[in-house]
């Protein structure tokens, strides 16, 4: 059975390409990305600094991954609640994914490598809807040693706690 209801952020899509496990990953997880994340997942860089384009179109066309169109009204509702300033602190793809997750009745999981994403989830009381790439890889048997720190479980736990317990700067203040 595939790992269900998983929203990916662009930095995860890029890193999975850098680890060269994208294909295996999407066969084992039900991956969904937003339009903005698809646009942000432009290229990956190898150890020698060589850039290769990321081609998600065929994966979307063949149904290997889902790409959702989040109406602007849903993004606006998210920004109305948490403040438009989040568009300046998050990537558009992250904002769109969070807006969709907060709007949806399903229990989506969102994986990112940005502290601010986990902080927002923590501060919104949705701590359990954040997941690190390391945790997913462990669950689907694709664990890799030496993951970059921002993709680890520890990173997510540390930052989510900060959002949950300390609050994050200007959260819900809309400043």
């Amino acid at each position: 059975m595939k790992f269900p209801l998983l929203l990916l952020d662009a930095n995860i899509v890029i890193y999975l390409h850098e680890l060269r496990i994208w294909e295996s990953f999407i066969t084992q997880c039900m991956v969904t990305i937003t339009q903005a994340v698809a646009k942000e997942s432009d290229y990956w860089e190898d150890e020698n600094g060589f850039h290769s384009p990321i081609e998600l179109d065929s994966d979307i066309r063949t149904g290997k991954i889902d790409c959702i169109d989040v109406p602007l009204a849903i993004v606006e509702a998210f920004l109305k609640k948490y403040g438009p300033v989040y568009l300046e602190r998050l990537d558009p793809g992250e904002a769109e994914s969070l807006a969709f997750l907060f709007h949806s009745k399903d229990k989506w999981l969102f994986t990112s490598a940005d502290e601010i994403v986990f902080k927002v989830l923590g501060a919104a009381g949705r701590f359990e809807q954040g997941i690190s790439l390391e945790e997913i890889l462990q669950k689907i048997g694709l664990s890799r040693p030496g993951l970059k720190v921002q993709f680890t479980k520890q990173f997510r736990l540390n930052t989510a706690k900060k959002g949950q317990f300390d609050g994050i700067t200007d959260f819900e203040g809309g400043k």
Binding site: A10, N11, I14, Q35, A36, K39, E40, E45, G49, D69, V70, P71, L72, V75, E76, L79, P84, V85, Y86, L87, E88, R89, L90, D91, P92, G93, E94, A95, E96, A113, D114, E115, I116, V117, K119, K148, V149, Q150, T159, K162, I168, T169, D170, K175
Partner: protein
């Protein structure tokens, strides 16, 4: 204000046609027109592209209130004034956000002019320069420290952009981002020093000359006062007189090369020094202009490091951006955009800050 109106306003502010925007973003101009007429709505990723081209933050399209219309005072506008002005204001906004997210708003306000009377002429401009030099602790050679003091102590946002051969400098004051100055990256160090002091005058006298009420053009008189202020600030009378007396021979003659050394000491151009001497020694204007012409010829033959290509981003801005990123207040991609670096380069900054324990002062 609706999203459609905001899209139209942002495009007008940078002076672009729908066709030009279509070329820059790859979004069809009929779609753009439909967005501006409220017939359809763009996706967030398209809005993000438009924000980039219009030099506004993405949040601009979602704010409830209409943002304050900023007054930017220009001294010699560059060819592409609208685009540069929009970029300058975007940078100011970004800088101010970094201050908020890092909790490091500059504490000090620039000195006020409350105790100056109705009249404000050359005498007052010179007096103001003396007072500012003293209050800011700029010492005998103000040109050496002015930039740092304005940036670090008073939080003046100073950016360097390529203003071409036409543009000189600009400044703005806003309730949103405070004080800001834009200098021409193409100018040499001592020219920028003068421009910095000149623009500082405008910021100090912003209300006195009614720029807070929307007056966007400084008057000719105001410009002359600003130049007088800059000369007085960067070339304080006593140290300049002392430096000149020390370098003159027993017949009270001083060579051009020695004057050049003095100009270097004060970090100003030879031309500025000559104009200062013009006022200090009461020279005839014709004579001063002749000296300046000679000085220009001399300057062409001498090599003086010009401190060219200063970074677009001020040191404090960079420091705040790094701090905010390390605190996890912004995403990696936003950090990379703010610093104009690649994602890979941005990752290098992910290391955490180190905390050092300092002894508690004894009670």
């Amino acid at each position: 204000m609706s999203l459609a109106d905001r899209l139209k306003l942002a495009r007008k502010n940078v002076g672009l046609t729908l066709k030009q925007v279509a070329e820059k973003t790859g979004i069809d101009d009929s779609c753009l027109s439909a967005y501006e007429n409220g017939q359809s709505e763009p996706r967030l990723s398209q809005l993000s592209k438009l924000a980039e081209v219009y030099q506004v933050s993405l949040s601009f399209f979602f704010e409830e209130d209409v943002s304050e219309q900023h007054v930017v005072l220009w001294r010699n506008k560059p060819a592409n004034e609208k685009a540069i002005q929009a970029r300058f204001l975007k940078l100011c906004h970004q800088y101010s956000q970094l201050e908020i997210w890092s909790g490091e708003k500059a504490m000090r306000q620039l000195p006020s002019l409350d105790d100056f009377g109705e009249k404000f002429g050359y005498t007052e401009a010179a007096l103001l320069a003396d007072r500012i030099r003293e209050e800011m602790g700029l010492g005998k050679y103000p040109g050496k420290g002015l930039y740092s003091v304005l940036e670090e102590v008073y939080g003046v946002k100073i950016f360097h952009l390529d203003l071409g051969n036409l543009g000189t400098a600009a400044c703005a004051k806003s309730s949103l981002f405070g004080y800001a100055i834009l200098l021409n990256q193409k100018n040499c160090q001592w020219r920028r020093n003068h421009d910095l002091a000149h623009e500082l005058f405008h910021l100090l006298t912003w209300e006195r000359f009614n720029h807070h009420e929307g007056i966007c053009e400084p008057s000719e008189k105001e410009e002359k006062l600003a130049t007088c202020f800059a000369a007085n600030l960067l070339l304080p009378e006593t140290p300049v007189r002392e430096a000149i007396s020390k370098s003159a021979n027993e017949d009270c003659m001083i060579s051009l090369s020695r004057l050049d050394s003095i100009a270097r000491q004060f970090d100003v151009s030879l031309e500025s020094l000559f104009w200062r001497m013009h006022f200090l020694y009461g020279w005839e204007e014709k004579q001063t202009k002749k000296f300046i012409a000679e000085a220009k010829e001399y300057s062409q033959k001498t090599i003086r490091p010009d401190g060219s290509n200063p970074s677009l981003y001020p040191e404090r801005y960079r420091m705040l951006a790094i701090r905010v990123f390390r605190k996890g207040e912004i995403s990696l991609r936003r950090f990379a955009e703010m610093m104009n670096i690649s994602r890979k380069e941005a990752e290098q900054y992910l290391d955490k800050d180190v905390d050092y324990e300092i002894p508690t002062p004894a009670a």
